[in-house]
């Protein structure tokens, strides 16, 4: 609290000095036009004014030049981070599908064969499958039987399954890329990542207003009529695929972009609390990370492999159908999360929708069963202002889990499913292409990442601040909290009314409503200030202005 006061005093003093030197603006010569040019009449209703205020923020974020500053800007309103609904790629509560579909705005389409876009690589895939068939069989035998890895008894079944799957995925990736590198040009320059860090953050409107928000509003008379005004719920996805392949060019969309508004793809609204399904809330800064920092040129994902060990952790009573849906959920949330983070690196955010579709391919496997998904991202704005207006939906094509092979007998693979292998090879053969439209309309012309900034101080400061923000490391000071004893003796029963009111809840202050820049910048000791006389006591900060 002290630091806030210090900051406020400081800014006020600054305003005073500025006001003294303010001058009357010079009148221009072309003040008059032939026809009267009236400003647009604005709706002055409260909701309309609030909307304009929000839209002004969205517009400011759109105009920021660099990727990293946009990410800081998304986090500007909250010093302690957002209370995020945490989605992950390895835990799905019972019946999560409606929530996941709504929160990722994804229409799910069950398929048995790949979409038509893949048909052109069919022949090449056949020949590759014939060449690699025996190698794949060998690697399955090797990884399942012939290699004795040091086994850890303390691992749970799901972890063991994931470990086996991870090794098989690496081998299959190795076999296919080695074979296809000569045949298609995009394999050689593509980068393969093991266990990358995927995180995505967005705002979700359309859900019911939580009780604590309603209760808070009830305290204030002006909010009496606005108790159930919708709020944005921040959502954070965190996941770690086994392996991803990325390239400097994006994949082609599976369906034309105009199809995005097709009413067939409409997703049913899910307005219940995510907590009631089994998701939890965590305070953290929102992060968008597709496995690499801004500046890496291979910024479009082609393919990602995920494990399905978490299915073993689910209760038996959930049933087979729900397990299948959990896999679909995993594919949707993982694909959406990765693509959203990639879209953020193209300069779009949860407030500024993408102007072109992005697509990716996702494989979920345990080394024996494989399910394949093709995902197309058409929209990323789902905040309260857009949730009902936005007609676009994302599309996910997915198969049920298919057996890669039947059994292993006498160190021989029996019944290798060549169709599945072919589909997998076709995923690799899906060639990324350069797009004809502008890829980064909301980023600067010359300055797109902070490494491009010329001012040394600004660049270094932003770099440090960005990495510190996305690391989500714990704060040095503990977070503000209402202690249990206070709740009993001060809030529920007013037994200490005679004491001085010092705590935030007694002053009617929400300590969490503090902006990211509401802190004292680092102090410059006198000895380190530039010679001869410098009055500047605090270092400059370069927070984006939103």
């Amino acid at each position: 609290m002290l630091s806030i006061r210090g900051q406020r005093v400081f800014t006020k003093a600054k305003q005073l000095t500025l006001r003294r030197y303010a001058q009357v603006a010079l009148t221009g010569e072309n003040e008059y036009t032939e026809t009267p040019n009236y400003p647009q009449i604005q709706d002055m209703a409260l909701q309309a004014r609030k909307l304009r205020k929000r839209q002004a923020v969205y517009e400011k974020i759109k105009k920021i030049d660099t990727i990293e500053e946009k990410q800081i800007a998304l986090n500007m309103p909250r010093y302690y981070g957002w209370p995020c609904i945490m989605l992950s790629d390895d835990r799905f509560p019972y019946s999560a599908m409606p929530l996941v579909q709504f929160y990722t705005r994804t229409h799910f389409k069950s398929i048995e064969t790949l979409p038509t876009a893949y048909s052109e690589t069919s022949e090449l895939a056949d020949s590759i499958v014939n060449e690699i068939k025996s190698q794949v069989e060998d690697c399955i035998v090797m990884e399942n039987i012939s290699i004795r890895r040091s086994d850890d008894d303390q691992l749970e079944e799901s972890q063991k399954e994931d470990n086996v799957a991870k090794n098989i995925v690496r081998q299959i990736n190795r076999i296919i890329t080695n074979n296809a590198a000569d045949k298609v040009p995009h394999i050689l320059p593509s980068q393969v990542d093991y266990d990358p860090r995927h995180e995505a953050f967005w705002f979700m409107g359309g859900s019911n207003v939580p009780d604590n928000v309603v209760n808070w509003r009830k305290q204030y008379a002006p909010l009496k009529d606005r108790l159930y005004e919708p709020i944005d719920r921040p959502v954070q996805y965190k996941g770690t695929p086994f392996l991803t392949v990325r390239n400097h060019l994006p994949l082609k969309p599976f369906v034309p972009y105009s199809e995005a508004t097709n009413p067939e793809f409409k997703v049913e609204k899910f307005s219940y609390f995510p907590e009631s399904v089994g998701y939890t809330v965590e305070f953290r800064h929102g992060t968008n990370i597709p496995g690499f920092w801004p500046g890496d040129l291979d910024e479009f994902g082609l393919l990602s492999f995920h494990g399905r060990g978490h299915i073993l952790n689910r209760k038996e009573s959930y049933g087979l159908q729900d397990n299948l849906e959990a896999l679909h959920c995993q594919a949707m949330v993982a694909s959406f999360g990765w693509l959203l983070a990639q879209a953020n690196y193209q300069g779009f955010t949860s407030y500024n929708d993408i102007t072109y579709p992005l697509s990716t391919q996702t494989v979920i496997t345990n080394g024996h069963f494989i399910s394949l998904y093709a995902y197309q991202l058409n929209t990323i704005t789902m905040n309260i202002d857009m949730i009902d207006k936005n007609m676009k939906h994302n599309i996910c094509f997915g198969t049920a889990p298919m057996k890669l092979f039947e059994t292993i007998e006498n160190s021989q693979v029996k019944g290798l499913n060549q169709d599945v292998l072919k589909m997998l090879v076709q995923f690799y053969l899906n060639t990324p292409e350069a797009r004809e439209h502008e890829m980064k309309p909301y980023l600067g012309k010359d300055i797109q990442v902070i490494a491009d900034i010329e001012d040394d101080n600004r660049r270094c400061w932003l770099e440090d601040r960005y990495k510190h923000l996305v690391s989500n490391r714990p704060k040095h000071n503990l977070l503000p909290e209402v202690y249990l004893w206070e709740k009993i003796y001060k809030i529920k029963h007013k037994t200490r009314f005679f004491e001085a009111k010092r705590r935030p809840f007694e002053l009617g202050v929400n300590p969490y409503k503090r902006r990211l820049d509401e802190h004292l910048p680092p102090y410059i000791p006198k000895a380190l200030r530039p010679y001869p006389k410098a009055r500047k006591k605090f270092e400059t900060t370069y927070y984006p202005e939103v």
């Binding site: 060449e131 190698q135 060998d138 690697c139 035998v141 090797m142 039987i145 012939s146 290699i147 004795r148 890895r149 040091s150 008894d153 303390q154 749970e156 090794n167 690496r170 081998q171 190795r174 890329t177 080695n178 074979n179 590198a181 000569d182 394999i187 050689l188 320059p189 980068q191 393969v192 990542d193 093991y194 990358p196 860090r197 990370i289 496995g291 690499f292 920092w293 500046g295 890496d296 291979d298 160190s411 902070i450 490494a451 900034i453 040394d456 660049r459 270094c460 932003l462 770099e463 440090d464 990495k467 996305v470 690391s471 490391r473 004893w485 003796y489 200490r496 004491e499």
Partner: protein, 410 residues
């Protein structure tokens, strides 16, 4: 009214904290009781005599997610009387390469690699491949998104000063990314026939147990990348003009120094791939040197010589465990030498080595010896990091890729 009094009254946590403070400062007062009792003829005993014995708790069997391991002591069923000197990939030999020479009975050909490797290393690689290597270096050092605690920064001038803990890419992750990406790049740019005959494994453990001068020694090592092939690796070596470094005398140090004794071990060596597989022959092994994980037994910093010693013991572990799988546990002199290539790296420096395993009889210094060809300390780049907020890669050395490629393709 003082605020503290109110807090004492109702905030129980605060009260306990204060109580602890007050009680912590208590001074024993001589009440004169002891003297009084003595006068009465009652024996006074020191209270400390009663609290000396720590209470022994009976072991309670708890049903948990997995069975609890038995305590590792003499009553354990796997406890063995005879101690085994153990070297793992986490510790190093005190004398480094010289001690490794004694332990493995190896002579060294310094700065000499088999001719075929030297020839292959000179072949120029296409530009696209070098671009790929640069990408891999940047991706491992700069662009990866891991943010974990890095080692504490210490200033020897002010050892108690706490610097801000930096989050970043750990050395384990950096090495993993870099070596795997280099491997992928080499495989993608090699012929399909070559890659088909090879197999690449990650993080795989080998173990070899042997007797040396009536002492049992085991090497347990993890190969971070193990390339195996369908055919045994062969090198044609003309060793007439090579000035070998002979096995040194370590006196007054014994060759088992800094090898901790273990009483729990397996007496059989272990090569991870079963013998009926076609691609079981070890070809090239990659060993990571992670400075945060590899430690001296006595806490001194690890020296470059000790790092070089790791290459030799590591390669010996893989070669000998394979030879034992091939010819049996008791084989001494091998009918045919086993060759294994080794690349050790900390991401920046590369140490290349080729081991010719001729014998597993490592006692003494006479008779058949093993041979270690090596080329050490080649730098792939000078530095790669965020330099003033910008990704930087300084002085990339293209020659290293040639050697790595030659090791794979030979």
């Amino acid at each position: 009214m003082k605020l503290s009094r109110v807090l004492y009254a109702q905030h129980i946590g605060f009260m306990f904290k204060k109580h602890w403070l007050i009680q912590g400062k208590r001074v024993p007062i001589d009440t004169g009781l002891e003297q009084y009792l003595k006068d009465k003829g009652i024996q006074v005993e020191d209270a400390l005599d009663f609290i000396k014995e720590p209470e022994v708790h009976e072991r309670v069997d708890i049903i948990g997610p997995y069975e609890r391991a038995l305590p590792l002591d003499e009553n354990h069923p796997n406890y063995k009387e005879r101690p085994c000197y153990t070297l793992t990939n986490m510790n190093v030999l005190l004398e480094g390469i010289s001690q490794a020479q004694v332990l493995t009975k190896t002579v060294i050909a310094e700065d000499k690699l088999p001719l075929r490797i030297e020839e292959l290393a000179q072949l120029p690689a296409p530009k696209a491949v070098h671009e790929g290597v640069k990408k891999a270096i940047l991706s491992a050092n700069v662009f990866d998104c891991e943010q974990k605690k890095l080692p504490k920064i210490k200033d020897p001038e002010r050892p108690a000063y706490n610097f801000t803990r930096i989050l970043g890419i750990t050395d384990r992750r950096r090495n993993q990314i870099l070596t795997n990406k280099l491997m992928q790049l080499i495989e993608k740019s090699s012929d399909v026939d070559v890659t088909q005959s090879k197999y690449v494994l990650n993080d795989i453990e080998c173990r070899t147990v042997f007797d040396k001068e009536n002492e049992l020694i085991q090497f347990k090592d993890v190969s971070n990348i193990l390339v195996t092939s369908n055919k045994p690796l062969k090198h044609e070596i003309d060793d007439r003009d090579i000035p070998f470094i002979e096995i040194p005398d370590l006196y007054p140090i014994k060759h088992t120094v800094t090898l901790p004794k273990q009483h729990f071990y397996d007496e059989v060596s272990k090569y991870p791939i079963s013998s009926n597989m076609l691609s079981k022959h070890p070809h090239t092994t990659w060993l990571h040197y992670n400075a945060t994980e590899v430690k001296n037994l006595y806490e001194e910093p690890v020296t470059p010589i000790q790092v070089l010693g790791r290459s030799l013991t590591h390669t010996f572990t893989i070669a000998s465990s394979f030879a034992k799988q091939l010819y049996g546990e008791d084989i001494k002199d091998l009918p045919e030498p086993v060759y294994v290539n080794c690349i050790q790296t900390d991401g920046q420096r590369y140490h290349f080595g080729v081991l010719e395993l001729n014998t597993l009889n490592v006692s003494g210094t006479d008779g058949t010896k093993n041979v270690w060809f090596c080329k050490n300390d080649v730098k792939l780049y000078d530095s790669s990091r965020y330099l003033g907020g910008m990704p930087a890669l300084e002085n990339y050395n293209p020659a290293v890729y040639g050697y790595i490629n030659a090791f794979y393709n030979c």
